[in-house]
Structure formats: structure tokens, C-alpha cells
């Protein structure tokens, strides 16, 4: 069995890549993609620990697996809503450049 730390390391790596993506990408779609990546990185970490726990505590293991399902579902919902907003914005402007959406500024 692959040791848990390896999975956690991979999860951290994915999280970092996703964070970099959120911070540096200018296209809104790419930002969403990166956010998905981060969410799945978190999922990976949870699943890894859930498997590690399954040896000692069935409760924790099962709740870990359940948590992943919930996160997946919420991620999907969030992407749906987000893409909807994006489409609405795209209707008003031509580009989806994040930097230009700065009307929250004081």
C-alpha cells in the first residue's frame, strides 16, 4: 500500500499548482479550473487519510469518504453557478479577463 504521506504530498503539490493557477491566470475559465484542482487536491488528502483511518476507526473512515462526496457535489454546484455568472458577464463585455472585473473598487 502506498504510504499516506505520499498522497498528502501529491495533494499539497496539486493544491499549490491550483493556487498558482488562481493567482496568475487571467481567463476566468482557467481560474475556475484551478479552483477545481484545489478542491480535488483537498479531496485526495481526505481520501488518503480516510483509508489510513479505516484500519483503526471505521467511523472516521466512513465520514472521510462521505465528506469527499459532499465536496464533489458542492464543487459541481459552485461551478454551475459560477459559469452562469460568467456567461451573464460575457454577455455584457467581450472579454472574460479577471483584471477588468474590478468594479468592486472603492
Amino acid at each position: 500500500m502506498v504510504p499516506t504521506p505520499y498522497y498528502v504530498a501529491l495533494s499539497a503539490l496539486l493544491l499549490t499548482i491550483g493556487a498558482m493557477g488562481v493567482l496568475t491566470r487571467r481567463s476566468a475559465i482557467m481560474v475556475f479550473l484551478s479552483v477545481e484542482l484545489m478542491l480535488n487536491a483537498a479531496n485526495l488528502a481526505i481520501v488518503a487519510y480516510a483509508r489510513q483511518w479505516s484500519a483503526t476507526g471505521v467511523e472516521q473512515a466512513l465520514s472521510g469518504q462521505a465528506a469527499v462526496f459532499i465536496i464533489l457535489a458542492i464543487a459541481a454546484a459552485e461551478v454551475a453557478v459560477g459559469l452562469g455568472i460568467l456567461v451573464a458577464i460575457f454577455r455584457n463585455r467581450v472579454s472574460t479577463d479577471v483584471d477588468e472585473l474590478s468594479e468592486v473598487r472603492s
Binding site: 488562481v22 493567482l23 479577471v98 483584471d99 472585473l101 474590478s102 468594479e103 473598487r105 472603492s106
Partner: protein, 641 residues
């Protein structure tokens, strides 16, 4: 008998009522009603004072009348109350007696003036305040009267306020008085700190128990002296009195001759117990008085305004009084207050008659020879001139002589230059005779230099003005006999006042020395008059007509330049400082703090707005940093263990 004396406490109230009546209803009353009402009130005060005087016969102490509690602060209890004893009743008689005559005179003098009722209202208010001053049983109450007379003086000097000169003079008097008041206030604070009370009788009782010549007592004495110099126009605060002549002449007579300027003398006499224990302070008092007397007499020679000469004369005579109380001869000082009140008031009122007759002329270079046309005024003025010069058998002779012998023999002044003081005062007596002769002769004697059209309506004043002149003239002769020299004759006033004032040691002289001193002063007076006669009469009054333009004359006219000096030193620099502070406040403190505070707040605000850039990626970055920080903190501190 006590109850009769207690009624005297009503005297100030009467005057106050008179003042209020004239203030509120005066303008609807027809002349001479305001003046009559005012005079009646003062007359009532006089009657009460006489009754109190009679009631005090046979009593050595006084009667305390306490009305209500004024201040409360821990153990500080100050009552609004009066102390009517021999000293205060003497002053009351002077104030109401001479005051009554001046009120009656004013009915004639202020006839036709449209501020008639305002004048009498303020004059009555003055009498009320002055009575409170001399009757007060505690220092704060005396201070109420003290500043009260200052306020009335301010109002009355600037009475004809439309001409700028008059309110300016009033303002000067008020402010110079206030400087003296600072001294009075500080003296009161120190008195409380030292004695634990502000009741005058208690302080007088406690003073002999203190260390003789202690620094504290000397300081208290000096501070009260500062207050006295303000009110009595002595060095260094004498500059306001000549300007105060801008007010109506009866005001000058009452306030700036007979009563208010003697308040300082009264104060020092009242707390003589303190000065008797502080020879340093007493010596300073005496020297201030003597120097002022000399300088003012010197200044009187080159003056050309009929009232300004009398003003400097007043400063000089009050100097004599101050010198007397400084020497510890308290009854002598009050005696001179009494005699001076008569002849100085007479001098001012006759000056008023002259000004009245000449239609407002006040320059003596344009007078002369009026004695022939104004017999009563001229003769009474002559009596007053002789009295003030110290001619024997008139009032001034007795009181001035008492002052001279008092300073010469004072035990309190021993070692503080008593002899030099005596010489200065003696010489000044001669000068007094000389310049007063100049005054009298320049106005009433010799050739007439009066303007032609003014000469037409020169007339003697109406009886309402000449009767007071006569009564005052009688007083200028008779009052002196109350104080015959003790060594040879019964001295009524000394016996009357001495129990009420502090005890000071005096050297006794042989009667030969006493007669010698009297002879000296008579000689000096004779010399002064002779000089005057020779300079002004024999040389046909020329120096009166045109003052020589020498350095000496210039120094005399400018009264040794005190006024000019103060103008530069205080007025100009004061205006500079105040303008400077105003600008400093507006531009530095205001801009600085407000700019600093406001600017700082604005700067912080601007920095804060940078966060709200609307830049989404910046928000995301910030969130990431926050999460990382939380995780690190949780991991490192083990908070979640």
C-alpha cells in the same frame, strides 16, 4: 447703643437703591429730581454715619454686623459682614459728608446734560461701593468694594463717551487698577495660606503673634501695597490719575481726590498690625509714598491744564498719606485723608466753577484775573490753596505737620532712612506751596489772559454750587483743629483713632524739638510761597503764560516719562504679544494639529483605500495568505491538539 451703630449697615444699601432708581426710572424724571434723589440717599447715609459715630462713643472696639455666609470651602468661611468701628466710621463720615456736598454741587454742574440721571446713578453706585470697601469685615468683601469703585471710576471717567479720549482714559484707569488688583488677590491668597482666615479682625489679632520681620509677613505687606498703589495712584501705578481728569469735575473731586484714591491708605491703616510686624514692608510703603509725593510735585510745575495740576497734586498728597501709614502713624494718615478731602474737593469744585464759567476752557494760560469777577469761588479757592500749602492755622498745616513729625520719630522706620524721608517730604512741602500758588495765581490773580468772547459770560456759579464751596472752605479751616499737636495740645483725632489701629513705637521728642520741627515746616512753606510770589506775581505771570522749553520743564511735563515708558514697555509690547499669540494660534497650533491630526487621519484613510482596489486577484492572494498564516499558527502553537 449697639443697635444704633448696626443701622449704619444700611448706608450702602440706601446708596444702591438710589442708584437703581436713577438707572431704571431716571430718564423719565425731570431735572433736578435725579440729583435730589441721589443726594437724599447720600444724606441718609450721612445721618446713619453720624448716628454710628455717636453710638461708638465710649466703645473701644467696634460692632460686627454679619449678614450672610458668602464663601464656603472647608475651613474657609467668609461672611458678607460689616465691621463698624472707629476707623471705618471716620471714613464713612468723610465719604458721605463730602460726598453729599459734591452731589449737591453736581445738581448745578450737570444741569442740562442729557446723561444727568446716568451720572447720578453711577455716582450713587460709587458711594455704595466705597462704603462697602471701608465697612467690610473680610478681605473678599473689601475686594468687592475695591473693584466696585474701580468699575464706577471707569464708567464715570468715560462718562462723555462720544469723544474717544474719555473712554480711553477710563480704560487706562481700569487696566492699571487691575494690575494693582492682581497684587491684592495674591495678597489674599497668601493671607489665607498664612493665617488660615480671611477675616480682617482675625488677621489683625493673629499678626502680633507671628515672627517679627518674617519674609511671609513682608511679602503680604508688599502685595497689599501693590494693590494700594493701583487704587491710590502711587508709584509705579500712578499713570492713570492725570488722564482720569477727562471725567466731569465733581467726579474728579469725589473719586479722584477725596475717596477712591484714599482706599489704599485705608487698607494699610486697616491692616496696620501686619505692617507693624514687617518693617521691611512698612519701609517700602513709606518710601513709595515719599518718592511719589516728590515726583508728582515736580511734575505739577509744568502742567497747563487746570485739573491736571490738581491731579498731580492729589498724587503727591496721597503720597504723604502713604508715607504716614508706612511710618506706622496710622491715625495721621487718616487725619490727612480727612483734611485733604476738604481742601482738595474744594479745589476741584472751584476749578469746576471756573471751567463752567469759561464755557469749558481748561488751559490756565488762558485764564487769569478771575478772582475779581468770581468772588466766592476765588476766595474759597484761596483758602484751599493756603490749606494745602500748609499755612499755619489752616487744616493742612496740622495734618502735614503730623506726617512730618511722624516720619521723623517713627520706630518702625528706624534704620530705613527715616531722616532722608523726612527731608524729601519737607522739600516737597515747599514745592507744594510753590506750585499751588502758581495754580491759584494763574487762575484768579494777576492780569486776565482770557479769550474775549469767553470773558463775556464769566459769572459766579449759582448758589447750589457755591454753598458747598463755602461749607468745604469752612471745613478746610476747622477740621485741622481736631488734630492739634499732641505734645502741647489735646489731640482729639489721635485719641479717637489710635485704639482702632495697630500700636507702633514712636520716639518722643523734647518739646523744643517739636517746636523746631513745626518751625521748619512753616519756614519751608513760607519759602515756597515766597518763591511763587516772586516768580509768578512779580514777573507778571509770564511763566504761567509760556512754559520755558527746557529739559527740566520737559521732564516735569511728562511726569518723568513714566507714561511714555509704560506705553512702550507694556502697551506696545502687549499688543505685539497678543497679536503674535493670535497668529500663532491660528497658523501654527491650529494648522499644525488640525493638519497633523486631520492629515494623518486622511493619510491613513488613503492607505486603507488601496486595499479596496477591486482587483480580484489581490483579494484571492490576501485570502491565501490568511489561510497560510492560520495553518502555520495552528501547527506551530499546537492550539488544536
Amino acid at each position: 447703643m449697639t443697635s444704633v451703630v448696626q443701622w449704619a449697615a444700611l448706608a450702602p444699601l440706601l446708596a444702591l437703591v438710589g442708584s437703581l432708581i436713577n438707572a431704571f426710572f431716571g430718564r423719565s424724571l425731570k431735572e433736578p429730581a435725579p440729583g435730589v434723589i441721589a443726594s437724599l440717599m447720600v444724606a441718609g447715609g450721612f445721618v446713619l454715619s453720624v448716628l454710628a459715630f455717636i453710638g461708638l462713643q465710649g466703645m473701644h472696639g467696634g460692632v460686627q454686623v454679619t449678614l450672610w455666609r458668602y464663601f464656603t470651602a472647608g475651613t474657609l468661611h467668609v461672611d458678607a459682614g460689616f465691621m463698624i468701628d472707629r476707623l471705618s466710621v471716620t471714613m464713612m463720615l468723610i465719604i458721605t459728608g463730602v460726598g453729599l456736598l459734591i452731589h449737591i454741587y453736581s445738581i448745578g454742574y450737570m444741569h442740562g446734560d442729557d446723561g444727568n440721571s446716568r451720572y447720578f446713578s453711577q455716582l450713587n453706585l460709587f458711594v455704595a461701593a466705597m462704603l462697602v470697601l471701608v465697612m467690610a469685615s473680610s478681605f473678599p468683601l473689601m475686594f468687592i468694594g475695591w473693584e466696585g469703585v474701580g468699575v464706577c471710576s471707569y464708567l464715570l471717567i468715560g462718562f462723555w463717551y462720544r469723544d474717544r479720549v474719555n473712554p480711553d482714559a477710563g480704560r487706562k484707569a481700569f487696566i492699571v487698577n487691575r494690575v494693582g488688583d492682581v497684587g491684592f488677590l495674591l495678597a489674599m491668597f497668601l493671607t489665607f495660606k498664612t493665617f488660615g482666615t480671611l477675616n480682617i479682625a482675625s488677621v489683625n489679632a493673629a499678626a502680633p503673634g507671628m515672627l517679627y520681620g518674617s519674609g511671609v509677613l513682608t511679602l503680604i505687606g508688599l502685595l497689599y501695597l501693590l494693590g494700594a498703589t493701583g487704587k491710590s495712584a502711587q508709584l509705579p501705578l500712578q499713570v492713570w490719575l492725570p488722564d482720569a481728569m477727562a471725567g466731569p469735575t465733581p467726579v474728579s473731586a469725589l473719586i479722584h481726590a477725596a475717596t477712591m484714591v484714599t482706599a489704599g491708605v485705608y487698607l494699610i491703616a486697616r491692616i496696620g498690625a501686619v505692617y507693624a510686624m514687617a518693617p521691611g514692608a512698612a519701609g517700602t510703603v513709606a518710601w513709595v509714598g515719599a518718592l511719589t509725593a516728590f515726583i508728582a510735585a515736580f511734575a505739577a510745575f509744568a502742567q497747563t491744564d487746570i485739573k491736571k495740576i490738581l491731579a498731580y497734586s492729589t498724587i503727591s498728597q496721597v503720597g504723604y498719606m502713604i508715607a504716614a501709614v508706612g511710618a506706622g502713624a496710622y491715625w495721621v494718615g487718616i487725619f490727612h485723608v480727612l483734611t485733604h478731602a476738604f481742601f482738595k474737593a474744594l479745589l476741584f469744585l472751584s476749578a469746576g466753577s471756573v471751567i463752567h464759567a469759561l464755557g469749558g476752557e481748561q488751559d490756565i494760560r488762558k485764564m487769569g484775573g478771575l478772582g475779581r469777577r468770581m468772588k466766592i469761588t476765588g476766595n474759597t479757592a484761596l483758602i484751599a490753596t493756603l490749606a494745602i500749602s500748609g499755612v499755619p492755622f489752616l487744616a493742612g498745616f496740622f495734618s502735614k505737620d503730623a506726617i512730618l513729625s511722624g516720619t521723623f520719630t517713627s520706630g518702625l522706620l528706624a534704620g530705613n532712612g527715616a531722616d532722608a524721608l523726612y527731608i524729601i517730604l519737607l522739600v516737597t512741602a515747599g514745592m507744594t506751596a510753590a506750585y499751588m500758588f502758581r495754580w491759584y495765581y494763574g487762575i484768579f490773580g494777576g492780569q486776565s489772559r482770557v479769550d474775549a468772547h469767553a470773558a463775556e459770560h464769566v459769572h459766579e456759579s449759582p448758589p447750589v454750587m457755591t454753598w458747598p464751596l463755602g461749607i468745604l472752605a469752612f471745613g478746610s479751616i476747622a477740621v485741622g483743629y481736631l488734630g492739634l499737636p499732641e505734645f502741647a495740645f489735646p489731640n482729639l483725632i489721635q485719641r479717637w483713632l489710635e485704639p482702632a489701629t495697630a500700636k507702633v513705637d514712636f520716639n518722643t521728642l523734647t518739646s523744643g524739638t517739636d517746636w523746631l520741627l513745626i518751625g521748619l515746616s512753616v519756614a519751608v512753606v513760607a519759602i515756597g510761597l515766597a518763591v511763587g510770589w516772586w516768580v509768578y506775581h512779580v514777573r507778571k505771570g509770564a511763566p504761567v503764560a509760556a512754559i520755558k522749553d527746557s529739559n527740566l520743564a520737559g521732564a516735569s511735563r511728562g511726569a518723568l516719562g513714566f507714561d511714555a515708558l509704560y506705553r512702550i514697555l507694556f502697551v506696545a509690547s502687549g499688543e505685539g504679544i497678543s497679536g503674535g499669540i493670535a497668529t500663532l494660534d491660528r497658523d501654527v497650533v491650529d494648522r499644525g494639529l488640525a493638519a497633523g491630526g486631520g492629515g494623518g487621519a486622511g493619510l491613513v484613510g488613503k492607505l486603507a483605500t488601496l486595499v479596496q482596489s477591486g482587483f480580484a486577484r489581490a483579494y484571492a492572494f490576501a485570502m491565501l495568505l490568511g489561510v497560510l498564516t492560520l495553518v502555520l499558527v495552528a501547527a506551530l502553537t499546537g492550539v488544536l491538539k
